[in-house]
Symmetry: C2
Subunit: 320 residues, 2 copies
Amino acid sequence: MASLKISASVPSPTEDSEQLRKAFAGWGTNEALVIKVLAHRNAEQRKLIRETYAATFGKDLLKDLEKEVSGDFEVTFDRALLLWTLCPAERDALFVNEATKMLTASNWIIMEIACTRSSHDLFMVRQAYHSRYKRSIEEDVAYHTTGDFRKLLVPLVSSFRYEGDEVNMTLANSEAKILHEKISDKVYNDEELIRILSTRSKSQLNATLNHYNNQFGNSINKDLKTDPTNEYLTFLRRIIKCLTCPEKYFEKVLRYAIKGLGTDERALTRVVTTRAEVDMERIKEEYHRRNSVTVDRAIAGDTSGDYEKVLLALIGHGDA
Amino acid sequence: MASLKISASVPSPTEDSEQLRKAFAGWGTNEALVIKVLAHRNAEQRKLIRETYAATFGKDLLKDLEKEVSGDFEVTFDRALLLWTLCPAERDALFVNEATKMLTASNWIIMEIACTRSSHDLFMVRQAYHSRYKRSIEEDVAYHTTGDFRKLLVPLVSSFRYEGDEVNMTLANSEAKILHEKISDKVYNDEELIRILSTRSKSQLNATLNHYNNQFGNSINKDLKTDPTNEYLTFLRRIIKCLTCPEKYFEKVLRYAIKGLGTDERALTRVVTTRAEVDMERIKEEYHRRNSVTVDRAIAGDTSGDYEKVLLALIGHGDA
């Protein structure tokens, strides 16, 4: 369930565009007004606002936003606001593109997008990537990754999994055995293991992993925890979490982004902007259960200013 | 250019449906009338006829066709007619599904569909596969293939190549070197080689292969001909042909289907039904140039009856 709050009577895209224009007028920017408008509109509404803004003022709303805020993607509020204003497919395409260029942590983000989006949404990301970067996602991912990570990531970003509920129990049984055999033999980069994780439908995988648990006494993720320092094993466990219980995966990303000294704003912004319209309510529940504190309070304690305000608005804090 | 001939004044879908109904009436079937209607309508028109037929008579045109003809996919005319009546994406999904089940020659057909369709059309095939088989293409292909063929086929069927004309010449240069190095070292199943062939846009690949030819003095396909009995090398050469000059690839498939004693009707039917609306005119030119005989004459010499008639109609012989 989405956390985004939209008031019952949403102003027209024309009124919203005029409000935004007003917020940009003169010296400085009325950030509160920008947040009031944009952080309470869904993807379809934001798209209409961008179209109406362009038609009315002959300007690109995103470019105007960039000029008004510092336009610096390193400034937390600016990054959050600009990312949020994009449509989900454009935003994900941007994350993947950044992730193929960054020196660290890139694989996790590519994997997260490949495994937690619906098949249709992932395809939309691939289309948006074509339009924006004039290349394909799989092309950039394959070029910028290596070794065992590449063997997993390329099929994951290229997948178009079946999304029906049909489950083949005989297959679930036999593939649970294959997974157990490969894991027992510690051949974690085995082709069959990668094939199963990267091609089967989420329902089918779920059945396979239940069989695994029933037949062999441990969850697959427990069996993949033999060496906590092995980055590839951690990666496999996260893939499984993303595919079978994304809300738990995102709870953990939020927890690590917030805990300790300092905040991983990039991770925090990514989770909030990408899940606010999808399953943020479920993630908030998980977070509360696991941390005995609400996400709202945790975010309020770790952030400040307009950045805090926009995040809280997106996770459904306060009125629309 | 398509070979399909559509008359300037196409009857309405209602009139076409009535003609088909008339052709099915009483004992036997008026095959000539069925061919006259269906073999002169494009995919969009056939779709409308199927919809109108279902709305008017409460029956599925494909099922009625199956009943009227023998309904046996082994009968050449029936198979050609039924395949033609399907929309291109359904038809390709069926070919891939058959190819994952057949014991021989399956890899070629999967590869042909993955490499000669546009990115958008290949995605439509993946969608049609979901609807019809309740699984994904990559799932079935990965499950039913093995070894080096699987390593190539799964990324090929999962690809969504960029289709713009932009070419990066520096990249073409460096990747031509990689290809040459791998081929010189005879590591034909190398990951980098597979990455380049399965992810780069057709324009980019073309530039890379031109660089290859210019820098190393041979075309890549010549360098891949070191061992004519090696099936995997033949496969690589065909992939390259499909990606860079599909009309030459299809000319060769037709040539081998027709030449010698007996005819490979499955291959002949596949090429005619899938290319009639796409590039059959170019294939016919290639065929004429290479064999000093027209495809029309070659097909007429090798086939007979209604099968001959429907094929000739699809390749543009006679009036619409």
